[in-house]
Symmetry: C2
Subunit: 459 residues, 2 copies
């Protein structure tokens, strides 16, 4: 009899695992059943802001592989079916068909993959569950938001939270002719950057006409007689809103795993080993937005939900459940995003993250241009670099600039992975030609300055 694999969650991690396992083992050896609670599989949630903003025709364009395509590859995919219980002892899961009167049934497994994703943070405030308040974590979320936008006669939006999703959504709403207010608790928007770099993003948001309220503590979503959101209240003011978007981040969707006694980290994310096997379990794997990943620079696990990690997790899990061998070594914390023509990137640790794990460091910030200053359209590019005191080891890089700035962060991402010092980085043989870079790439200029700062700091 074929071994039985059950996958919970039909997006990147789950379906990449299923697909990779199927590539390695045919249906005679491995029977694969996958459960997805929503209407879509294998999609790019990262594309939702561009769908909402009208840059991309959604949802079809955002789907890498449809349910039909998965089924054609002999994956028994149960759409609109929510798993409600894990019975690890007997090796079975209970699932409920959402469109079929809630009919429940048990499915047995030999091996289990948890890819249950994450859900937008909803602080327990009055009105937070009102109609017109939207997260943007799944394609179903995206569709619901677009339905609200289409139906709404008003054109005022409030985005709560100015992390990268909040900022991207704010821009998308501007493109839909909304007057947008972003309410954020921090000193500066773009909490994925240190405040000094976030200030540059703030300037770009103002340029788009986005009102950004900093140090804002949201106290309630106010509703109208029909229970629809009509405004967001903070400790200081009230902001009228025809639609409210939640951009306060997400938390791992691990209620099922918790109920089954599986190990969770501080964030609530599942803990796995390097093969993405749930710690202490022989036949349970987990990946994607529901797990914590090892941060190789910070030296601990944390919740860092990104599609690029989820896809890698899926590939690793698929190889391992099919009897192959692969590992996910961890992350260095790379992220890029865009506001208007401003490119925003970071990798490694921010200042507060470095301090939190006991690292002492120097920081430098340089201004350069993304290509030779004399070549047409040279635009400024700012690079901030953190290096460990004494050792000079690279700890993090943040970049804010225009075209050609964002992916520069990959240089630092690879250098972090390799454990390079900033002094080693000075001599990196990076691509140079006037349309691509100044003769000293801005990352190298930062490395030179950081090297000097490490020396100046002494022992």
């Amino acid at each position: 009899m074929a071994e039985r694999l059950v996958v919970i969650g039909g997006d990147a991690a789950g379906m990449a695992a299923a697909s990779q396992a199927r590539r390695l083992k045919g249906p005679g050896e491995l029977a694969i059943t996958a459960f997805e609670r929503g209407h879509f599989t294998s999609y790019s949630a990262c594309g939702i802001p561009y769908w909402v903003g009208g840059k991309v025709d959604g949802p079809a364009a955002l789907i890498a592989r449809t349910p039909e395509e998965h089924r054609a590859r002999t994956i028994d995919l149960r759409m609109r079916t929510e798993v409600t219980e894990l019975d690890l002892e007997r090796g079975r899961v209970r699932a409920r068909a959402l469109d079929d009167g809630g009919r429940e049934s048990w499915t047995d497994f030999d091996k289990l993959v948890l890819a249950t994703g994450a859900r937008p943070l909803r602080p327990p405030l009055p009105g937070i569950e009102a109609r017109g308040v939207h997260g943007v974590q799944t394609l179903d979320d995206g569709r619901a938001l677009i339905d609200t936008l289409t139906a709404s006669p008003g054109r005022r939006a409030v985005v709560i939270g100015a992390g990268y999703i909040g900022v991207e959504m704010a821009e998308a709403l501007v493109h839909r002719d909304y007057a947008v207010t972003v309410l954020d608790r921090g000193e500066q928007p773009m909490s994925t950057l240190d405040p000094d770099m976030g200030a540059r993003v703030h300037a770009a948001m103002c340029g788009l006409g986005i009102e950004t309220v900093r140090r804002a503590v949201v106290t309630a979503v106010l509703t109208d007689d029909e229970g629809r959101a009509r405004a967001v209240a903070t400790e200081d003011a009230e902001y009228p809103a025809d639609v409210v978007v939640l951009g306060m981040g997400v938390r791992p969707e691990t209620a099922l795993a918790e109920a089954a006694g599986l190990p969770l980290g501080e964030s609530g994310g599942l803990l796995t080993d390097l093969s993405m096997r749930v710690r202490g379990r022989e036949n349970v794997w987990a990946g994607g937005d529901c797990v914590e990943v090892l941060d190789l620079v910070a030296g601990h696990t944390r919740h860092l939900p990104l599609g690029t990690h989820a896809n890698k997790h899926g590939q690793v899990i698929g190889a391992n459940v099919a009897g192959g061998y692969a590992t996910f070594p961890g992350v260095v914390g790379t992220a890029v995003s865009k506001v208007c023509d401003l490119e925003i990137a970071r990798t490694g640790l921010l200042e507060h993250q470095a301090r939190a794990v006991g690292l002492e460091f120097v920081t430098v910030t340089i201004e350069s241009t993304h290509h030779a200053g004399y070549y047409p359209k040279a635009r400024p590019m700012h690079v901030k670099m953190l290096a460990e005191r004494r050792t000079g080891r690279l700890l993090g890089v943040q970049i804010v600039g225009r075209e050609g700035a964002g992916k520069r962060v990959d240089i630092a991402a690879v250098a972090l992975t390799a454990g390079m010092t900033v002094e080693q980085m000075i001599m990196l043989d990076l691509g140079y030609a006037p349309p691509f870079s100044p003769v000293w790439d801005p990352v190298l200029v930062a490395a030179r300055k950081a090297t000097a700062a490490v020396r100046a700091a002494g022992v």
Copy 2:
């Protein structure tokens, strides 16, 4: 008395060395004399094609620091002065003032820096020294070429050689409304790439209206009665030309060093140690286009003249002559260039280079897009990857694509420096967001395919 430093050559390596030394030691400790045979100092020769093509206002924009600026920093700079002899035994150089009736004089030194650069290859063919035949190695060369272009009534240009300088010059001449023919000995233009990748560049050149003649063996430059170039002859045909540009590469300008008995490599480039000190000499340093550099992937030194290396050499030399400490570890062979909107990049070894040093390897080529396929204006991007047989160590990457493709090569440049395997590269935490990259960066897609190829090749 102050120590006496003499620098020969006023471009990147020489003046970076002088400037860095001056930063570390004042004129009371170190007297610096620098000789430059041309009219310019510290300029970007890489910018010449953009000056010729009208994208950049030359020569001023291409000059990082003028002679006056150097003199203001207490560097005794002798412009239009050619060093004609090195007397290493007595520690002095003989120099001739080119604009002063050829007056010669000796200058004593305690420490010497050779930064004599390179000169365009001119095979010993009839007519190769004719008027109207131009190299493009120095700003003086660039000015002479522009004078010829301005004076010429005709609009036909022949470029000999289709390396990156030849290709960039061909495009520049198209922008000046020249009908351009490129004659090249190879199978495909862009000899810095393998022929299969060079073919993609060939297509782009055709799109610009550039006629590219491959497997062309040039036999002579034909001249008119006044000794001006009028055509270029190959074994098969004659190509009329109002101007001829040499793009066959350069060779190190080391006649002085050779006459003084300094050690040269196979290319004629000076051999140095890791501190850029000329091998076997206590008080002589060399850097820039006149030296061979250690190719960390090939495991031997070779001539790889690039402004980015020259600047680094200068910084290292400046630190060392001033009693500091710095080393240049070597290069991995990174280069980027542009034809029209096509970005062309390589790092590490080509197939023939890998074979020449005894490496066995697998190659893969993938097609992807530079950003998410569904995001507007996604353009194709091709990545070729070489990995060592058995070990899977990365040996080289070549990229041809549009906007955002070229600098991707830096990922591979850092991975090469760190000695990563292609399997390690699969899990690199690179920046991902739809406007920047597909969820699997094209470099990672290539690494996946290369990993599979290494496994398939077995032991």
